[in-house]
C-alpha cells in the first residue's frame, strides 16, 4: 500500500492584481491496481503552501504588464515546489521565485525577427532542452527504440512516478532534463535562425514525430516537425555549460507538471 498526500495553492494575477485563487488538497491510497482518493486535508501541507505562496506574491506585484500564474505544490515527502508562469504580450516563461525577475526581464528583452526561415538553428537560452525534452525525454517515457545521439552529448532525464493531483493516476514522468556537452564541435553557422523562447512541443509515440513551436526567434514564430531520428541526426554542435531554460510545464494524460530543464547553447542543422 502506498499513500500520496498533496496540497496546492494556485493563483492568477493580471497586471499586479489577483483575479483567481484556488486551494486543493487530498490523499490517495493505492493498493495494487486500485486507488482510493479523497480531498482529505493535511494542515501541515496547506501551511507549507501558504508560506511558499506568500514569498512568490512578493515578486508578482512589480510585474504590472504581465499575466502571472503561481502554483505551489506541497507533498507529504516534504517537497514544496513553486512555479510561476509569466506571460507578456502572449509570450510566456515558466520560472521559480528566485529567477522570476530575471526571466520577466528576458521576456521584455527578446524580440521576434523577420529573417528567412532557412539554415541552421541556434538554440539560445537553454531552449534546446525543450527539443530534447520531446525527442529524448518523452520518447524514453514511451520506451521508444533508440536513435543515434552525438557521442559528445549526454542527457540526464530520470523518470520518476509523478502525478499532478490526488485525483490522478501516477505515471513515470521526467522530473528534470539536463543536457551536457563534452568536447562538442561548435562553429557558428553564417546562415542561421536564433531561437530565444519556445511556446510548446509534443512527441507522438505512434509516429515518432517531434514538434516544437518556437515563440521567439530571429525568423519570428514557427513550428518545426521532424522525426526523432532526424532530430538526433541534426544536432551539429554545442558550447558551454547547461543553461537553465525558463519553462517547461509538461502535459501528459491531462496532468501538467513542471520539469526543470537545462541545455547548452546548441546547433541543429537540417530541421528547417
Amino acid at each position: 500500500m502506498t499513500t500520496f498526500a498533496i496540497a496546492s495553492r494556485d493563483e492568477l494575477w493580471l497586471g499586479g492584481a489577483l483575479v483567481e485563487s484556488r486551494l486543493m488538497h487530498g490523499v490517495a491510497t493505492q493498493r495494487g491496481d486500485s486507488i482510493d482518493a479523497s480531498d482529505a486535508r493535511d494542515d501541515e501541507l496547506v501551511r507549507a503552501c501558504d508560506l511558499a505562496i506568500d514569498a512568490a506574491r512578493a515578486a508578482v506585484a512589480s510585474f504590472r504588464d504581465a499575466r502571472v500564474r503561481i502554483v505551489v505544490r506541497a507533498t507529504q515527502n516534504g517537497e514544496v515546489e513553486t512555479t510561476m508562469t509569466i506571460a507578456v504580450d502572449g509570450v510566456s516563461v515558466v520560472t521559480t521565485p528566485p529567477d522570476a525577475l530575471a526571466d520577466y526581464e528576458l521576456l521584455h528583452r527578446v524580440r521576434n525577427g523577420s529573417a528567412a526561415l532557412r539554415g541552421a538553428i541556434v538554440w539560445q537560452n537553454g531552449s534546446a532542452a525543450v527539443l530534447l525534452h520531446e525527442a529524448f525525454g518523452h520518447a524514453s517515457e514511451h520506451d521508444a527504440a533508440p536513435v543515434a545521439w552525438p557521442s559528445w552529448l549526454s542527457i540526464e532525464a530520470p523518470l520518476v512516478s509523478r502525478r499532478e493531483t490526488f485525483r490522478d493516476v501516477p505515471l513515470l514522468r521526467m522530473a528534470r532534463l539536463v543536457a551536457r556537452q563534452t568536447d562538442a564541435p561548435f562553429v557558428m553557422p553564417d546562415e542561421r535562425i536564433e531561437v530565444q523562447l519556445v511556446a510548446g512541443g509534443a512527441y507522438d509515440p505512434m509516429s515518432d514525430m517531434v514538434t516544437v513551436e518556437v515563440a521567439v526567434s530571429s525568423a519570428g514564430p514557427f513550428t518545426m516537425r521532424r522525426s526523432r531520428a532526424e532530430v538526433a541526426a541534426s544536432i551539429a554542435g554545442a558550447s558551454g555549460e547547461p543553461i537553465r531554460y525558463p519553462g517547461v510545464i509538461c502535459s501528459r494524460e491531462g496532468q501538467e507538471l513542471y520539469v526543470a530543464s537545462y541545455a547548452p547553447l546548441m546547433i541543429t542543422d537540417g530541421l528547417l
Binding site: 486543493m24 491496481d33 479523497s38
Partner: protein
C-alpha cells in the same frame, strides 16, 4: 460574497489499467472580483470507501471493450462513472455521468472515440474498420456519423442552424432553455468543474434537421485527429472499403431527423447523422 456554488461528487475512473475512486466536495465564489475555489467540509459525512458495485460496473464495461478490440490496438482507454450534486442560488440538482475516451491505433492511424455512455458497439465498429483500413481516398459527398458530427458542431456555431436544447441547470443554477444558437453571447454559463471559473457557453447544442441524407454515401465513423477549425480527418466506410480521408466540414448539406445522441464535446453537443 455573493453566490456560492457547491459540488459534491464521486467518480470511479478506469485509466489505462488503474481504477481510481475519487470523492470530493468543493465550493467556488467571487469576492471583490476574485474567483476563489476550495474544498469544503460537508455537514453530512460522505462515505469514503470504495463502492464495490460501482467499481464492478466500470470494470465490467472495461472488460467488454477489451474483448471487443484486438489487444495491442488500444493506445489509451479511460472510462468513468460518476455522481454529483450541485447547489447554487437556492437551486439543487444532481446528475449521473458516464464518460469514455478511447484511442485505437493501427499505425500510422489513430482513431479517437469520446462517448457519454458505456457503449460497446460503436467501439467494436470503429476497431473492426480500423483493422482493415486501406489507402487514403478523396470523397465528394460524405455522411458524418453522430459521434463525428457532434465533435464538429461547436465549430459551426453561428454558421449552421442549431438550437440549445432545454433542460437542466447551468453552472450558475439558471435553467437551460431551448434557444436558437447565434453569434450573440450565450445566455448560460458552463462550469466544467467547481474550481473552474464559469464561462458563457451554448449548452447541449443540436443541429436543426433539414434536407435528405443519402444513405448510399460513404460514412465517416470516427475522428483520426482532433478537429482543426472545420477540417476533419476521419475514418470512412464505403461499402466494403475502409479508408482515411480529410474533409472540410464547413458546408453541411443535410441533417438527419433521427433522435440525436448527447456527446461530451464543448458544453455538450448532440450528434445526429449529417451530410457534407
Amino acid at each position: 460574497m455573493t453566490e456560492v456554488y457547491r459540488k459534491v461528487g464521486r467518480v470511479i475512473r478506469y485509466e489505462n489499467g488503474i481504477v481510481i475512486a475519487v470523492s470530493e466536495s468543493g465550493e467556488a465564489f467571487e469576492k471583490d472580483g476574485v474567483f476563489q475555489a476550495r474544498p469544503f467540509v460537508q455537514k453530512i459525512a460522505q462515505t469514503r470507501a470504495l463502492t464495490p458495485s460501482a467499481i464492478a460496473y466500470v470494470e465490467q464495461y472495461v472488460a467488454q471493450v477489451r474483448l471487443s478490440v484486438r489487444s495491442g490496438r488500444i493506445e489509451r482507454f479511460i472510462a468513468s462513472a460518476g455522481v454529483a450534486t450541485h447547489e447554487i442560488n437556492g437551486s439543487n440538482w444532481s446528475e449521473e455521468s458516464r464518460r469514455v475516451h478511447l484511442s485505437l491505433v493501427n499505425r500510422p492511424l489513430r482513431a479517437l472515440i469520446d462517448l457519454a455512455s458505456f457503449d460497446v458497439e460503436i467501439i467494436k465498429a470503429v476497431a473492426d474498420a480500423l483493422a482493415r483500413v486501406g489507402a487514403e481516398r478523396e470523397v465528394k459527398r460524405i455522411r458524418l456519423a453522430p459521434n463525428v458530427s457532434a465533435a464538429l458542431l461547436p465549430s459551426l456555431i453561428g454558421e449552421l442552424a442549431m438550437e440549445q436544447s432545454g433542460g437542466g441547470f447551468d453552472g450558475r443554477g439558471q435553467r437551460i432553455e431551448t434557444r436558437a444558437v447565434t453569434h450573440d453571447p450565450p445566455p448560460n454559463w458552463y462550469r466544467p468543474g467547481y474550481a473552474v471559473r464559469p464561462l458563457r457557453a451554448w449548452m447541449n447544442i443540436r443541429a436543426l434537421p433539414f434536407g435528405r441524407i443519402d444513405h448510399d454515401a460513404p460514412i465517416a465513423i470516427a475522428l483520426l485527429e482532433p478537429i482543426h477549425g472545420t477540417s476533419l480527418r476521419v475514418l470512412c466506410i464505403d461499402g466494403d472499403d475502409v479508408f482515411p480521408t480529410t474533409v472540410d466540414g464547413s458546408h453541411i448539406a443535410s441533417v438527419s431527423r433521427a433522435e440525436p445522441v448527447w456527446y461530451p464535446y464543448a458544453a455538450g453537443s448532440f450528434g445526429v447523422e449529417m451530410m457534407l
